[in-house]
Symmetry: C2
Subunit: 334 residues, 2 copies
């Protein structure tokens, strides 16, 4: 259906060449994560399914790819001043680790009530990197953007947003590029959707490297803003959704990511939290892997029958594996 | 220290050629499991550590290698009659799956109180294979060996024991062979020890492929029969040890396995259940993998400091990932 969408899309915010260049920057720095298969899954779905294991990526999620790619493109002056980011999740750790690897200062603005484990992990990546710190704010009384703008201005730091940035999107696309290089052409690719950074980069890579591929997004049923946005033809804002898929608790996707999604993505599917928990258990019990709830979105759509892909070669991106161990154990038992 | 122990060991029950032949039989049938690394582990140990992920093996443990190798060597007559095994653990599933793949009947003798999940998994592998069944016995009133001997005699079936068998040992050795082929020569290899099938096969493969390597066994502190046997120079029998490492609850190793162990293994280390739990949590939290308690033995010896291998290239075999999900979740939380 998308015969050659890229050739007729000069206005897309990223091109395949950007993903290919990102792959060059990430070589030897990011893990080339394995593509795993399961006879049980193939039999259940009647398809050939390849799971791209970004839960095995450095710092535990695909976010490292985009963050490192963005920081690696900084000018000498930008590097000296460093990077600033707002995030309580995987983006925080991705920026902190990438900044350390590139020897630049990082400031991460996190809510006071962020999980202690994420705070500790972020600070762990920042140690031995002068000028780096976590700045906490009160979510109920303070405006994190104002804090960020002030620090960025005072210190001359460059803000890297979690998804709506061309270099971030291009970096995330290397996950799909590697998958197709490793397993061959695919008929379909399933990707989780939060702000749209991963799916937009992957859609550009996959459409270029596996012509005719269908790229499907998967959102939590509780927060289907991108599904709504595609139906309406413009970005829809929603209230912060209540879901265990914390990486997909976005209120809206980005301007740049939506420009790619509306052109290259076939559609967006949704799954419930209960379906995510069953999928998480399946990965632990049968494939011996820890996959975080957000990382289960794409797989859940397939395993729980939100889409039927019999006879097809299907790629599924497992986006990350960062979980609080006690919460994870609780979900395994529930 | 073991300059060329194989050339001076004509009497070993298996030779490297047996492991190489097993690798040929397993090609395209067993998974060539990945070797994974962790910067955290390397920094903590001051070593280069390569984890051989047999938790990702078919049926979830290395046991598939030995079982399939043994069954693949059956004569046409043996195949027609089929195989019998006693086991409530990974050996049961390994035999049932291998028998199905080779289209022969299998009878597995299991205790009545075996976990329902293991019973279901074994029967799952046996379905569609005529003449296959699970036979349950009462551990308190019945003699499983008598039951097995009677059925074997009545049906002409061949008994395959879980470890003390040359073809089983040679098959298990392919795990170490693959690891060294994939990551290069090693200075040391750490392997869990139950009945000794895995470590004996791996010691033969590793000593041949990585001359000078030290092979260390790791047992639960509660059941160090092989450590005692090496000290005494003969096989020591112990009471069934109380440990969460259920795959290492053996009362003694085998005659064939001990012949290899005493010649090629540098020594046996022990770890406690508390150390196994910490190691299991480390794998879940940092490497996003489910490793069963027995599968954590070798890694725990390294991570918990039972041995010091600074500056060395170290292989660690993670033997399996089969856990009851509720029990696993309980250990993650404890």
């Amino acid at each position: 259906m998308n015969a050659d969408p890229l050739s007729s899309a000069p206005s897309l915010p990223i091109q395949f060449a950007d993903v290919a260049a990102a792959a060059g920057r990430l070589r030897g720095v990011a893990h080339r994560t394995p593509a795993r298969t399961s006879r049980t899954v193939d039999e259940a779905c009647g398809a050939s399914v390849f799971f791209k294991c970004e839960n095995f990526q450095r710092m535990g999620a695909f976010k490292f790819r985009g963050a490192y790619n963005a920081l690696a493109r900084f000018s000498a002056e930008q590097r000296r001043a460093g990077v600033i980011a707002f995030s309580s999740g995987n983006h925080a750790q991705a920026i902190a680790l990438s900044a350390r690897l590139l020897a630049m200062p990082s400031v991460i603005v996190m809510p006071q009530d962020a999980p202690a484990s994420k705070l500790a992990a972020t600070r762990g990546y920042q140690r031995e990197q002068p000028g780096s710190e976590v700045i906490l704010y009160d979510r109920y009384t303070q405006d994190r953007e104002a804090i960020g703008r002030r620090i960025a201005a005072e210190r001359g730091m460059t803000l890297i947003p979690p998804y709506d940035h061309a270099d971030v999107m291009a970096g995330q696309g290397t996950a799909a590029l590697e998958l197709i290089e490793d397993v061959g052409p695919l008929d379909a690719l399933l990707v989780c959707v939060g702000g749209g950074g991963l799916i937009s980069g992957c859609a550009v890579a996959a459409t270029a490297r596996s012509p005719g591929i269908e790229v499907w997004g998967v959102e939590p049923a509780a927060g289907n803003d991108v599904q709504q946005s595609l139906a309406k033809g413009e970005i829809v804002h929603i209230d912060t959704p209540k879901t265990i898929a914390d990486g997909a608790q976005t209120q809206h996707c980005g301007t740049l990511t939506f420009a790619v999604i509306r052109r290259l993505v076939s559609g967006v599917l949704t799954v419930t939290d209960a379906q995510l928990v069953r999928t998480m258990r399946f990965f632990a019990e049968r494939m011996k892997m820890v996959v975080e709830p957000t990382g289960c979105l794409a797989a859940a759509a397939l395993l729980e029958g939100a889409i039927e892909l019999r006879g097809k070669r299907v790629g599924v991106i497992l986006s990350g594996g960062n979980v609080d161990l006690a919460a994870y154990a609780g979900l395994l038992q529930a």
